[in-house]
Symmetry: C3
Subunit: 207 residues, 3 copies
């Protein structure tokens, strides 16, 4: 029971962090208030919604409207904060996104594992939960999707998800924390030092 | 029975208007005939499909193929009309879209209410039904999504949906007409006078 | 039994070909290795996933993880091949895409027909299975979607799907082969000779 509450708060934290990242991008794009809410909501629930639809589970935010409330509060606080600070650093957005990605990787994999899916599907679902919200955010805002920019975006999710799956038979809380930290540290390191997983030789595009 | 028929026609009208808006954009983008059908179909059924998937209901156009017929007829008539008129006004597209948005806001909220969902979810579903088709249309056509352009796009849906939810316990037809007109008038006013809900201070982008 | 195995291999071939087309685009866009896997996966499973969700069927790759394995192998082989060849022709990508489209049109229509849906819905589902993966690929990579470029993209699917539906009561294998070849030849001819289905008169955009 206590543990369930802990996971639940964790899930809301992930939603809030992604809502913040959506609001920050809305600020950079000079959207209006409702535009910010739309972009924040799509970012925060896009990944989990896709996961639930593909697994055939009820979509999480439809039956628990506290998630939408969390998004509204996160958007409102971010807007207030941005009024006192006339600019944001590109990096602020990247870090908010990285924290959200770490939360959602483990919570996505956990939900699939709880529903009894195979380890490979759990890792795919963790990655999808973590990546699809941000992907929708970037596509809507006509930005190049972060997930395709290199810097180990999906890589961090896949490795963190695998760590989670390896540890979860022993202890759920440990698996969540170690899996999440693995994702976060790989992604932050990749942002800081521009790590990438180059596989194609240099070339000058098509033709 | 008679009332159900009325709602059903209303729903087809919304589909037709969105199909027209997709065809108009296809014209502006110089797509070919099947490209126009694809864009019109995505616009017309995108919102309702997303709504039905998220609510776990059967997708409306799969079991009633008259919707696809309505789209084909709307596309054909629009193409014929466009052959007699060598250009379209930017505003024509905005108004067609606004009428579709008004129809779909109330029909989306009505479907969710009929299925017994909470008022908040009904408003979200009205907004999603109204906004997702046009969002997909704009993303596919590589246009900036109208929903993020300000001018009270989602705002009009949220307010119209709330009006609908407040009135629906008294009379469904009144709720549909007043809710739809609320959405339409807010959106048309916003297009005409460039209303917006500014929340961010002026800034020059990132950095 | 033997026939089912044949269809199953056919389905995996379609997935592999679309995974190759995603990897080729990843190469042109200079993505990293995991970016290539993401783009290849979205291209290969995007259409079938949308089809299964809309028809209310279990999503095919969740319960048969060999599909994901097929994608990984196809991506790996394509990357190795690209290391020995410093450039790719625009046409290589178009042809890989056309082959995938032909496979998926018939397999999508077949799955809908097997589940008992009406002929019109089967044709729509064949077209959607064939077109949505490539559409997601192009949207994510910020390319103009091939489906909107003319050259009979969706047209080839609709005609091939109709041929399949007409022949399937007589013989499934014949329907699959003739339907698939119809789609492939129309699309290849359209690419080669720039066929298009022009319906709009010349105009200079909006206004």
């Amino acid at each position: 029971m206590e543990l369930t509450t802990f996971f639940y708060c964790f899930d809301h934290l992930g939603v809030a962090v992604f809502a913040i990242s959506g609001t920050l991008l809305a600020f950079r794009k000079s959207l209006d208030g409702v535009g910010a809410i739309v972009l924040a909501t799509v970012t925060a629930v896009g990944g989990g919604t896709t996961r639930d639809l593909i697994l055939g589970l009820p979509v999480f935010w439809v039956y628990d409207t506290y998630y939408l409330l969390t998004i509204l509060v996160a958007v409102a606080l971010t807007i207030i904060w941005l009024r006192y600070k006339a600019y944001i650093n590109e990096r602020t957005l990247l870090i908010a996104d990285a924290v959200g990605v770490a939360f959602f990787t483990v919570m996505g994999a956990l939900k699939a594992a709880d529903a009894g899916f195979s380890p490979l599907i759990c890792i795919v679902m963790g990655t999808m939960t973590a990546c699809f919200g941000g992907m929708l955010r970037d596509v809507l805002a006509q930005e190049r999707p972060m997930i395709l920019k290199g810097e180990l975006y999906a890589t961090a999710c896949i490795i963190g998800g695998a760590v989670f799956i390896l540890l979860v038979p022993y202890s759920q809380p440990v698996a969540i924390i170690v899996g999440g930290l693995t994702t976060l540290l790989i992604r932050l390191g990749a942002i800081r030092w521009h790590w990438s997983l180059v596989v194609f030789r240099d070339h000058d595009g098509t033709r």
